[in-house]
Symmetry: C2
Subunit: 368 residues, 2 copies
DNA sequence: CATTGCGTTGACAACGTTGTCCAGGGCCTA
DNA sequence: TAGGCCCTGGACAACGTTGTCAACGCAATG
């Protein structure tokens, strides 16, 4: 067995020390670096020289390993403070093989759904002494791959990916090489791995059924690009609910495309106009909902609305939503990941988290 | 206390290498790989052996350096694909001295103000070929320091910090060692560095003056902890506006503390109750605004409100706000940082970005 | 007194990559 | 054909750290 594992890379072994004003940087490092070198930081070697001890002893002190006399430790610590030494984790990682960091690739950190998700992942990572690196794919498969591979090159211990693309075979060598991977929100493409999903189908079906239960039969659906798994699942839920009620979906009731406000607006206005307009809308995600709310607010005739994903202040606006708990999704995914990292070796699992219908008024309006 | 990870961060003991000399062929190397041993990734050495070329030639191919015959390149590329090789950036960083990554320490990624900010920083970083690592300090100075130093240990090239604490002398050795640092949203404590701030004082003053202009004289202020610079600046702006109008601020009109919804609610209700209630509220940040809107919505009598920071859907709710452009703040900070990294050597600058008053109704209500 | 044992310490190699430098071969020119 | 040059490729050291192992001093033991 390897000896007792030293501390994580995230939390320095030593508690933060108050700044000491004793420091003058006067180590003789005349020709050690070429002068072009950026950031000429002291190394353990420098600390050792200044403290008059061996290199390894400095390493011991820095990592709080046993077997150092209090007196020696004090001398080393003084040298560390004087020089402003800080361990170089790149070198450490190279030697130890683990980075104590995980990567999270999501769509857009600015999206209010992903912020809390990321934060939840961060907290779990922190509890495991790991740092989180997240990147935004901007829903671009190529950028997703670029990001993921950059993270792999940095040898993150694990990856959480919210897929933008639908083919993740490029990850196979990485997964084989030992990078634990969990896919979130949408299933992985052509790769066998853990997944944590929300019940898009069920949630959507419930939401549409809710509208039907309140008397609607002409219901419009506005969703994201069909390339995105959750978008098609939600559409499937819509169709299922309509079919359950024996309603035939008419042309023009369904719009799939970007979530770009302009297009959503156009789609919504088209559905709400004409001789036989829809009386209710189902919005496929939070951004669609926001635009839909704006469009509806401008209209004379009330239009019922249920949105997928909760929105801040939706309670005050009385918007009925299908809520998925972003933080719970992130937490679950992160916990799965760390279970893997701790050695869990079972077959890839697929977890589906339930959604909740939150009635707040807009979904309970009767047909106009 | 940062949790110490008791789990083994160590990679499992490597199988002993049967040889270390250079001339030998690689039979057992390839065998080793096909064993699918986890955590044992192929290196350039392995690729070189398989392609029958030298180590440095592989490095050249991987980095698209010139001086490699197309035929050789092809052979190397095949070996790379066959083995699933990926360059180890830790080793690369160790050698090159630059990590091509920057760190961003903010308060809470789940906060709708920081999501867009982080995203803007990410985009600038990406344009400069750098990766962004962000961490949440949860407004805890100790955690901020812990995070910052962990990022320094990873040798990020630069740091963007939204300070939680008010003493950043611990960063001095790092800054001296060449880690470019920009402070955002709040000034650095006892350290001379670049700063990008919003005009909290001016914005707040304008917002309160706006309420006064609409006839209010009894105006309450609810803000964040006075430890936080923006909180005191906004309070200062409030006092300035009141003084400008010749109004004496009464006890009980000002509440500083956490942004915890419960306490904000209590504070707001206290101000709005009693024999001589305030007729308007100024909310010191987005979270306070959200709670204030809820409290006001429950009341019979209309209460005017201006909030600092914009909120999604605030237009539909008719909330008047002082808006600061989070993305612009992030972008500006990141651009400053990269200018430093590209060699800019001028004295630390202090940029102050303007705020905008957006009237939407709640701030234009007359006193009840 | 010699020996054992333990606790402390440091020399050294290795982690995987890149910069430097030199060797060898092919080709062009005189 | 000889000499020189360019182009390709590889050997080697270094980056800063940690694991291994052996040496040392000292005390307790036989």
């Amino acid at each position: 067995m390897p000896p007792e594992s030293p501390t994580s890379l995230l939390s320095p072994a030593r508690s933060p020390r108050p700044f000491t004003t004793t420091g003058q940087r006067t180590v003789d490092r005349t020709t050690r670096h070429s002068e072009t070198r950026y950031g000429n930081r002291p190394t353990m070697k420098d600390v050792a020289a200044r403290a008059g001890v061996g290199l390894k002893t400095v390493s011991r002190v820095v990592n709080s390993e046993p077997g150092v006399t209090p007196d020696t430790e004090r001398r080393v610590q003084e040298a560390i403070d004087a020089l402003g030494f800080r361990r170089n984790d790149s070198a450490r990682v190279l030697r130890k093989g683990r980075t104590a960091s995980i990567g999270l690739v999501l769509e857009d950190l600015a999206d209010p759904f992903y912020g809390p998700l990321s934060r939840a992942v961060e907290e779990v990572a922190r509890a495991h002494g790991a740092l989180l690196i997240n990147g935004s794919s901007a829903e671009d498969p190529e950028r997703e791959q670029e990001l993921v591979l950059a993270l792999c090159a940095r040898r993150v211990d694990g990856l959480i990916v919210i897929p933008a693309g639908d083919d993740h075979r490029y990850l196979e060598p990485e997964i084989k090489a030992g990078i634990a991977t969990v896919f979130v929100d949408r299933p992985a493409g052509r790769v066998d791995a853990d997944m944590v999903l929300s019940d898009s189908f069920g949630g959507s079906r419930e939401g549409v059924a809710h509208l039907i239960a309140h008397g609607h039969r002409r219901i419009g659906f506005i969703g994201d690009q069909p390339r995105i798994h959750t978008a098609t699942e939600r559409l499937r839920g819509y169709h299922a609910a309509m079919t359950d009620a024996g309603i035939t979906v008419e042309d023009g009731w369904v719009s799939l495309g970007t979530t770009d406000p302009g297009r959503v607006r156009a789609a919504a206005e088209a559905m709400l106009g004409g001789p036989e307009p829809v009386t209710a809308l189902f919005a496929g995600n939070n951004r669609v909902t926001v635009t839909a709310v704006r469009v509806i607010a401008e209209r004379e005739r009330p239009v019922a609305l249920v949105g997928f994903d909760d929105i801040e202040l939706a309670d005050l606006l009385g918007i009925t939503v299908i809520s998925q708990d972003a933080a719970a999704v992130g937490r679950t995914a992160a916990e799965h990941l760390f279970r893997r990292l701790d050695g869990a070796d079972h077959a890839p699992a697929r977890v589906e988290l339930p959604t909740t219908l939150i009635p707040r008024g807009s979904g309970e309006l009767p047909p106009a």
